[in-house]
Amino acid sequence: MKAEYVNPVFKAVTEVFKAMLDIEVSRGTMGAIAGGKQEVDIQINVIGDVAGSILFQFPQDTTLNIVQIMSGMEIKELDSFVTSAMGEISNIISGNAASYLAKTNYHCDIMPPKIAVTNAAVAPQFAQETLNIPLHTNIGDMNIYISLNEMK
């Protein structure tokens, strides 16, 4: 997959986490991500000059920590409030990534987030080539899967 599609996503994640949460994001290591049995999966489909999907996998502990920072309240479970907040963060990240792509003349739109709570971290089965970016922060790890192809 072209670096032109991957770099905007990584840039958007690091900037959004820094601005919204004051959290630094770095590349993590491949393999299972720790942080709780359940996880929040958020898939954002992309259409336009570049099309496909971006999948965000947030383990339970990472998710609870993020929403706790944002709300200033103790957050104990992955309920609708929590998953919806994570959906919006993923939406913001993907929107920013789409803006960065537009600057390199790839114009695309993002679709509303599809949110699911799953019991185990499973790699997605996208039809197209998929790149996994494991990410690390001091409040927990997360995974992003990028499956984007040029349609021009």
């Binding site: 959004v16 601005a19 919204m20 004051d22 929403v67 944002m70 709300s71 200033g72 309240m73 309920d79 609708s80 409030f81 929590v82 998953t83 919806s84 907040a85 994570m86 959906g87 919006e88 963060i89 913001i92």
Partner: protein
């Protein structure tokens, strides 16, 4: 406390309005997430939906007028974000009323609202403040 000093963009009137917005959203989130019967929380939901529809419009109008005074180059983009948010809140208020203020739908709105508000202040509005600083314009 939801509001953080770092959210200040250095434009006093807008900072005051943001602080009020955060305070009301914090009250709303706390009210719907505390223990108790959902039926008892519905009044707070209705009150917040009315507040959002009124105060958000006032705040957005102020910001947009200010941006026009500045000749802010990203005015159209910022205006489009405001319009999309207003339309979202309006349609959700109608949906809630029609569906009897269902708890899950309201919790979803609250989560989304929280993330949206923080991002809007730390990203879009900070960008406007940066423009004010770069151009040496008046902060009112």
């Amino acid at each position: 406390m939801l509001w953080k000093e770092k959210y200040k963009i250095g434009i006093p009137t807008i900072d005051q309005q943001h602080e009020e917005l955060f305070s009301r959203v914090a009250d709303f989130v706390q009210a719907i997430r505390q223990d108790g019967r959902w039926e008892e929380k519905i009044e707070k939901v209705k009150e917040t939906m009315v507040f959002l529809q009124e105060y958000v419009v006032t705040h957005f109008n102020y910001e947009e007028k200010y941006q026009q005074t500045l000749g802010y180059p990203d005015f159209e983009e910022h205006h489009a974000i405001h319009e999309a948010f207003k339309a979202d809140i309006q349609s959700m208020a109608q949906e809630f009323a029609a569906a009897g203020y269902h708890e899950e739908a309201v919790q979803k709105l609250a989560g989304r609202l929280l993330a949206w508000l923080i991002n809007h202040v730390v990203a879009s509005d900070q960008k406007m403040a940066q423009y004010v600083t770069e151009q040496g314009l008046e902060r009112i």
